[in-house]
């Protein structure tokens, strides 16, 4: 094994080529660290071992928090703190007033679910104002697809990896050394 660690950036000019190459490389036992693409390449996730995101579950929990807060708030404002008799329709119990509270409860549920999810998404992706971009080549946001493979994560040495990669329908390969 070589002492230096190397990172491979393998570029393809088509999503189908990338997909075929990823399947071929994974079949040889090579671990692909990541894929950079200009749009979602459907079906790549299971091939390179990416798990399903749990963002939707998080969103559901934010939404339920919103429902609870809205009901708690309206119970406090309208029933507990200052009950009023409006047009002969007194507000002395939450359950009797519930129909009037449905719209605001719904809106607040959506508000918390949507914004909670959006904030979680931005934080988990590390995409925030002023963050530096980490795509290896500017063309990956246009029409090129790049696979990232680390020698560190693979049993194969750099020469072996290079020959395996070159067997696929590749456009460009860049190999860089990096300090671990």
């Amino acid at each position: 094994m070589e002492s230096t660690k190397k990172v491979f950036h393998v570029m393809y000019d088509d999503d189908d080529k990338l997909m075929a190459a990823a399947q071929a490389l994974v079949a040889k036992g090579i671990r692909i660290k990541d894929v950079y693409s200009p749009f979602p390449v459907h079906g790549i996730d299971p091939v390179i071992g990416i798990k399903r995101t749990r963002l939707a579950i998080a969103s559901f929990m934010y939404a339920m928090t919103g429902t609870s807060l809205a009901l708690l708030g309206m119970w406090y404002f309208m029933i507990q703190d200052w009950p009023m008799n409006i047009g002969g329709k007194p507000s002395f119990s939450l359950i009797e007033n519930l129909p009037a509270f449905v719209p605001v409860t719904f809106e607040f549920t959506v508000l918390c679910g949507a914004h909670g999810m959006a904030i979680t998404y931005l934080l988990r992706n590390g995409t925030l104002p002023g963050m530096p971009a980490s795509n290896p080549d500017p063309r990956t946001t246009d029409d090129k697809f790049v696979m990232e493979i680390l020698t560190d994560e693979n049993d194969m040495d750099a020469a072996g990896l290079e020959s395996a990669v070159k067997e696929t329908d590749v456009m460009e390969v860049s190999i860089k050394e990096y300090a671990a």
Binding site: D34, P103, L111, A114, N135
Partner: protein, 465 residues
């Protein structure tokens, strides 16, 4: 790869590659502003400034400068509010509902339709804000502890529901739109060569790198946001309609209002999308992406929602007689034969008769006819809200309170001004933002591109032979 029936019309015309899509959308942003754009933004910003002047005069003087009186407490202001909110609905419908239904044609129009939504909702929010009279205490609509011991806002009132509905709708639409924009800003960032532009788009793109995991999350967020924005868009205009429906005013307190308002909103919103996109596709040379088929699909939505609106008008009219309530039937007789009957018949012609022309395929696929009819529908939908609000209010239960409403120059100035602000914002969007959802269009290129479809069909006929 997903296959699509060969008989389906392609959504992207010509022989486009992924790179061509980027070039066609990012090219105009990199180049100098065309003369037409400069002329349009000058006119619209001048109109916008005039509108802002009228608003400031109104705030400084009081809402007496509008034509309102004791009987007619709502007129142009709330008409404009409902009109703008309604226009906003098409954007969310295109981006959320059509996403859930997996309609690929939405991808060419969703970005600009969402931008339209956001700008229209901002314009809508102006009206209840300035209608309060004392806009500096507008935070009183929120349930904040106060020195009155604490006296809370009334959660039984649809006007307060509106506060929650509109603010949720606006902020969720904005976030939905921006999350979709992030990868496209990254595309622009990576193409820009001038340092300042690169810096600006780099900040806007939040450091997006397009990793596989990022895209998985992106798709999940888009789907879930679409899922919750769908009931949201229906709830918003239902709640707007309840501002009227929960009152005791003849012509307003009808249970048909929520579905009637929602379909009216979609109807007017799609008309506005047509108006804007037919100009934009020409000015920005996007004819290959937004073409006759897209226009036809939108016209079909206009026929459906326009017909629902037409049925609702006739239902209202019938029920006002069938209910046997004399106030109710008077309200409707007064609508079509009273002092504002001209508005009523304008509404009927523009909203019920004119969209039916779209049953004819030639008209439905004609861009000129669509453009003219889209403006007719926009006018008709403004009159609808005007008729509902004004004719119901100007006749009170007590005849001595009967009154008339005449719009003042400030009424007109503020309305025209919001149009100016809206178009200024939209023009800025068209100049500096990616007007098509690049990343989404690229995903449908292989299944719905014209050349790609032709190649597939050829391959198929070769294997059959």
């Amino acid at each position: 790869m997903q296959q699509e029936a060969a008989i389906r019309e392609p959504l992207i015309l010509g022989n486009k590659s992924y790179k061509d899509i980027t070039d066609d959308v990012v090219g105009p942003i990199q180049g100098a502003a065309p003369l037409g754009w400069k002329v349009m933004i000058t006119i619209s910003s001048m109109v916008a400034f005039y509108g802002v002047g009228c608003i400031l005069y109104l705030i400084g003087t009081g809402i007496g400068v509008w034509g309102l009186n004791k009987t007619v407490g709502w007129a142009w202001d709330i008409t404009n509010f409902v009109w703008w909110v309604g226009i906003g609905h098409a954007g969310t419908l295109i981006s959320a509902v059509l996403l859930l239904f997996r309609q690929k044609w939405r991808m060419a129009i969703n970005r600009s339709a969402e931008a339209m939504t956001i700008f229209a909702v901002i314009m809508a929010a102006v009206f209840p804000g300035i209608h309060m009279g004392r806009i500096w205490v507008s935070y009183w609509v929120l349930p904040l502890p106060n020195q009155f011991g604490s006296l809370w806002v009334n959660f039984n009132s649809p006007l307060l529901w509106d506060v929650f509905a509109i603010s949720t709708y606006f902020s969720v639409s904005l976030v939905f739109w921006y999350i979709g924009l992030i990868p496209d800003f990254a595309t622009i960032r990576d193409r820009m060569t001038k340092p300042l532009q690169k810096k600006i788009y780099s900040i806007l793109s939040f450091g997006w790198s397009g990793r596989a995991k990022n895209w998985t999350r992106f798709e999940e967020v888009s789907l879930v946001l679409a899922g919750i924005a769908t009931p949201l868009v229906f709830s918003v205009h239902s709640i707007v309609s309840m501002d009227f429906a929960t009152s005791v005013i003849p012509g307003w307190h009808t249970t048909i209002f929520p579905p009637y308002f929602v379909s009216g909103a979609v109807f007017s919103g799609f008309a506005m999308v047509q108006t804007l996109l037919l100009i934009m596709r020409k000015a920005m040379h996007l004819e290959n992406y937004i073409h006759t088929k897209h226009v036809e699909y939108m016209n079909i939505v206009i026929i459906v929602t326009g017909s629902i609106v037409g049925v609702a008008y006739l239902t209202e009219l019938f029920i006002s007689w069938y209910s046997g309530v004399e106030y109710e039937s008077y309200a409707f007789i007064n609508r079509f034969s009273g002092p504002y009957s001209l508005s009523y018949w304008a509404m009927m012609t523009c909203n019920v008769i004119s969209p039916q022309l779209f049953w004819i395929k030639k008209i439905r696929r004609s861009l000129v006819a669509t453009f003219i009819l889209s403006i007719v529908v926009n006018i008709g939908m403004w009159f609808e809200r005007y008729v509902i609000i004004l004719t119901s209010l100007h006749r009170d239960y007590v005849p001595s309170s009967w009154s008339e409403f005449n719009a003042t120059s400030i009424d007109v100035g503020i309305f025209i001004g919001t149009l100016g602000i809206f178009f200024t914002l939209f023009l800025l969007f068209a100049r500096f933002f990616p007007v098509l959802a690049l990343n989404e269009l690229k995903t449908i290129l292989k299944s719905s591109g014209e050349e790609q479809k032709r190649l597939q069909a050829d391959a198929k006929s070769n294997t059959n032979a």
